[in-house]
């Protein structure tokens, strides 16, 4: 005997299937992000975080205990950051030079690039990951790029611009936050790492960052 079903039931099943599919698409699980809502302050422990890189591997601040850590906030389209322009710290080679200089000061320094652009660019973490992966090849970025999917790490660090840079010492204490450089002779990140490595006071410990806005959720 053939089983049959009413038209209403057919429409009901279709609607339910569609709703489930849409819900699944727009609520894909985000990458793991900040585990503490602390707010960054010079001289205090830097906020903890866990984020995925472009290969899906997790990185936590705690992984780098004992090492100096540099954080650089990044945006793939910002003309001061990943966007191609004469002011971009990436396309002009300034970041590459910084890496070379940092290694001379401390071979174990960790450099992490953080992208919190999901909200600003109206992209999913997955799509932003793909965009950054393509751009990393073009820009020759070899250090990890971490995706701050829900922008909570940007909130915890009060990251305002791209770029916005932070230097954390081996004890996890925040020692510098602010601009990448003075757009002239001084790279503040290099200056801060050098001071931390040599046990000196970081001065300036805080500068005004500049660049495109980090739009948090």
């Amino acid at each position: 005997m053939r089983r049959t079903i009413s038209l209403a039931a057919v429409l009901g099943f279709a609607t339910l299937a569609g709703a489930v599919s849409v819900a699944t698409a727009i609520s894909a699980p985000p990458a793991a992000t900040a585990s503490a809502p602390a707010v960054a302050k010079i001289g205090e422990k830097a906020p903890a975080f866990t984020m995925k890189d472009l290969e899906g591997n997790e990185h936590s601040l705690a992984d780098f205990k004992g090492r100096i850590v540099v954080l650089e906030w990044f945006c793939p389209t910002c003309p001061y950051s990943g966007g191609k322009s004469r002011n971009s710290i990436h396309t002009t080679g300034q970041v590459k030079k910084l890496h070379e200089d940092l290694k001379k000061v401390d071979e174990d320094v960790v450099y992490l690039t953080i992208d919190s652009s999901t909200h600003k660019m109206r992209m999913s973490a997955e799509d932003l990951t793909k965009k950054d992966a393509d751009l990393a090849k073009t820009l020759g970025i070899k250090t990890p790029i971490l995706i701050d999917a829900d922008t909570s790490v940007a909130k915890a660090y009060k990251a305002k611009t791209t770029p916005h840079c932070y230097v954390i010492d081996g004890d996890g204490v925040l020692r510098y936050m602010g601009a990448f450089s003075d757009q002239a002779e001084t790279n503040y990140v290099l200056k801060a790492v050098t001071a931390v490595k040599n046990g000196k006071t970081v001065s300036p410990a805080e500068t005004r960052p500049f660049g495109c806005g980090v739009k948090v959720k």
């Binding site: 049959t4 079903i5 003309p79 004469r86 611009t161």
Partner: protein, 303 residues
């Protein structure tokens, strides 16, 4: 009585096919790169902002100062930034390549407006703005025309930001001595000059001072004066390395009996001053519009 119409029914396979087809066709992802700027590159800011150089007058006398205006026309929805851009952004940069006989001064910034968007506060200009630059002719400047090239650069933002640049030039003529021909003085920049904040020293009954806080060594910036007919008066900080007023965000004045008072805690960190003097500075805005009155001040802070 006609026979009842049979209910429509389908083989079970049909709804299963419908479910399968629905699942395959969905999820409907939001369009990729809803960034909305796919047709613009990061360095396409000159497609959003056009630049024009305007002189107040065509002539400049030896020893005199004249304003040169750099007018930026900005497409709707976008904005450029004030000297202190706020939470993000960068101010426009102007590089005049002047001869030794002309001294180019610092930009006189028109009064900005406040952009507040999802917790981010920036200060800048939308629509049109004319940045005013004072040119001073040396006493011994030779008569005749002087042409000075300009390179300009700006960051223009909407939801995302683009870098723009342009070149221009300005020509000013130094009259020959004894040239007593009819000379018409114009001021093509009168409207732009009217948008400049008024220095506090020129405003009767208005003062900015620093007082000791009630707890610890917290100092506070206090600005007082006559409220006039302004319904909302706000303070916005200027760039002051080593000194932070409040959180760097606008502060509303209290208004009572026709007088206003602004009080903001100061955080003083001399090591962050980048060898600049410690100062508290900012604007008092008597309304939200670009044409509303504004008063500027800059006062020293002792270490």
């Amino acid at each position: 009585m006609p026979p009842a119409r049979p209910r429509r029914s389908f083989p079970l396979a049909v709804p299963l096919l419908v479910v399968l087809a629905t699942t395959l066709l969905l999820p409907i992802r939001p369009a990729q790169a809803q960034f909305g700027f796919d047709d613009l590159e990061p360095a396409d800011g000159d497609k959003i902002v056009s630049m024009e150089v305007v002189t107040a007058n065509d002539e400049i006398m030896p020893g005199a100062t004249e304003f040169v205006g750099v007018r930026l026309r900005i497409q709707p929805g976008w904005h450029v930034y004030w000297r202190n851009p706020g939470d993000s952004g960068t101010r426009p940069r102007l590089r005049f390549k002047a001869p030794d006989s002309i001294t180019v001064g610092e930009i006189a910034w028109p009064r900005p407006v406040i952009f507040e968007d999802h917790g981010e506060t920036t200060y800048g200009y939308a629509g049109e703005v004319t940045l005013l630059v004072p040119f001073t002719a040396g006493e011994d400047i030779a008569p005749g025309p002087v042409t000075i090239p300009l390179d300009a650069e700006w960051l223009v933002c909407k939801r995302a930001c683009l870098m723009g640049d342009a070149t221009g030039e300005v020509t000013l003529t130094v009259p020959h001595p004894g040239d007593n021909g009819l000379r018409v003085r114009r001021n093509r920049l009168a409207e732009a000059i009217a948008r400049l904040p008024v220095p506090i020293a020129k405003v009767p009954d208005m003062a900015a001072t620093i007082i000791e806080g009630t707890s610890g060594d917290t100092r506070r910036l206090v600005v007082t004066g006559t409220a006039g007919d302004a319904e909302r008066i706000r303070f916005i900080p200027d760039l002051t390395p080593g000194v932070t007023a409040g959180e760097g965000h606008p502060v509303d004045a209290t208004i009572e009996d026709g007088r206003f008072r602004i009080e903001v805690p100061l955080r003083v960190e001399p090591d962050n001053a980048l060898d600049r003097p410690l100062e508290a500075a900012g604007l008092v805005l008597f309304g939200p519009a670009a044409t509303d009155r504004a008063v500027s001040f800059r006062i020293p802070v002792t270490d």
